[in-house]
């Protein structure tokens, strides 16, 4: 806990130093200069409103992309003949520019929430799939043989044999996943939504107001630090207990 605090303080100090060297508050303001705009945005309720809209989108897209990506990655990793068929599609969708997918979604589904979430999800699924597929390919064949001979139930195999082995891959995909999703949500928001952190960041970027850009960016980062500390790390600790016991 105290290491965390110190580490964040160090980051703040680093920022301070860089801002002090840059000495151009319009390009990089000092940390303390964010207080008053932060307070103003908080008081007006703007910050929480936009943050909540973005969070809802992130949560939806994350849940969808992780579950679909996990399923697809497992299937492709476990069944090489399925993989051979789907692999080129995966490469194509993996490398399709976010912009193209987002625009196509907006054009077909309309400028609405569904389109936004689908666009993000489609953007992220291939990412999760590639990582999970690698995990599925490196599962222990001896354990597989064991479950087979003992005719363990599929559901139980998934839950107790496969997923625990995939845990590091899932953790990696989830962590880098939320980050990528949130970055895509930003693009989705500035291209076709009327609210959300991405919308605000783009607005203030157009107005060249670095302070407010940072206020909005950091507000999401704060949420992510909390998610990391309150959800992800405790979960990981529990899942990895057997390694350190």
């Amino acid at each position: 806990m105290s290491v965390r605090a110190f580490s964040l303080l160090g980051l703040l100090g680093f920022w301070f130093l860089v801002a002090w060297i840059a000495a151009d508050p319009l390009v990089l303001p000092m940390p303390q200069e964010l207080f008053s705009p932060l307070w103003a945005e908080l008081k007006s309720g703007e910050l929480l409103f936009h943050l909540s809209r973005t969070l809802i989108r992130v949560i939806w897209a994350f849940t969808l992309a992780m579950s679909l990506g996990l399923a697809l990655g497992l299937v492709m990793g476990l069944f090489p003949h399925v993989d051979r068929w789907l692999d080129p599609w995966l490469v194509v969708f993996l490398n399709l520019p976010a912009l193209v997918l987002i625009v196509l979604c907006y054009l077909w589904i309309g400028l609405n929430e569904t389109a936004a979430i689908i666009a993000v999800t489609l953007n992220k699924i291939p990412n999760v799939t590639t990582i999970i597929r690698e995990g599925a390919r490196s599962l222990d064949p001896n354990l597989k043989a064991m479950t087979q001979v003992f005719r363990m139930r599929k559901q139980s195999v998934l839950q107790h044999v496969i997923l625990p082995q995939l845990a590091p891959f899932i953790a990696g995909a989830a962590r880098s996943g939320i980050a990528v999703i949130w970055k895509i949500v930003l693009v989705v928001e500035f291209l076709g939504r009327s609210n959300g952190i991405g919308f605000q960041i783009h607005l203030y970027f157009q107005l060249f107001d670095v302070r407010l850009v940072l206020v909005y960016a950091l507000s999401f980062i704060t949420v992510m630090l909390l998610v990391e500390w309150l959800i992800l790390q405790p979960w990981e600790k529990r899942v990895r207990r057997w390694r350190t016991a």
């Binding site: 479950t147 087979q148 001979v149 003992f150 005719r151 363990m152 107790h160 016991a245």
Partner: protein, 202 residues
């Protein structure tokens, strides 16, 4: 009844097994002997249906249990769960009973990685015995155990066999072990390995 008819099994171009045929009745126990690297584990994998890439046929029952040469445990689940998850039909007390039979009663809540190798092997044995299998396959089940523990495990095995009457096939390097448990001893030899001696005891 288990009937094994392996006409040939190769890894790549290298033939490992050839013309191995034998049957095992319920309640019968077959010991397989042979030098290291001859193909005993390979044969067991064919019998268990883990490796389908061979010429020949094996008829086997559905309800099987296997004790691998290495423990092959779920390292991320407790010792207790390593039995319970594989045999969900067992009650909690039955699982604890199975653990105490192999001397692991006080280790139920540890992870397998916290056991000594001998303890892990006993856990693997307990897992094999727990389901009252119709076919029990064991690959050198009693190594890494001191004499006393090994003897206990042998006694346990005898009890299981006499109680649930499975067909049992096991690999060992120890002829006294083989003599004690087996109704039939098969010895593999040659390259590719064939059944050299087929000795029926008892």
């Amino acid at each position: 009844m288990i009937s094994v008819d392996v006409r040939s099994k190769s890894y790549g171009d290298v033939p490992v097994l050839q013309d191995i045929q034998f049957d095992v009745e319920q309640g019968q126990t077959v010991a397989i002997l042979g030098p290291s690297g001859i193909g005993k584990s390979t044969l067991l994998r064919l019998i268990a249906g883990i490796d389908p890439k061979f010429e020949g046929t094996v008829s086997r029952p559905k309800n099987m249990a296997i004790v691998f040469q290495e423990p092959t445990l779920l390292l991320w689940r407790s010792v207790f769960d390593n039995i319970q998850l594989i045999h969900p039909e067992l009650s909690e007390s039955a699982v604890r009973e199975a653990l105490s039979e192999v001397g692991l009663a006080d280790k139920a809540d540890l992870f397998p990685g916290q056991l000594s190798l001998g303890q892990q092997r006993r856990l693997s044995l307990a897992r094999g015995f727990a389901g009252n299998p119709d076919l029990l396959i064991m690959d050198e089940p009693f190594v890494s155990l001191d004499e006393k523990t090994a003897d206990e495990m042998l006694t346990l095995t005898e009890r299981l066999i006499s109680k649930t009457q499975p067909a049992t096939i096991f690999v060992t390097h120890d002829t006294t072990e083989a003599a004690r448990l087996a109704t039939q001893i098969l010895t593999l030899d040659g390259q590719p390995a064939t059944l050299k001696i087929k000795e029926t005891l008892k």
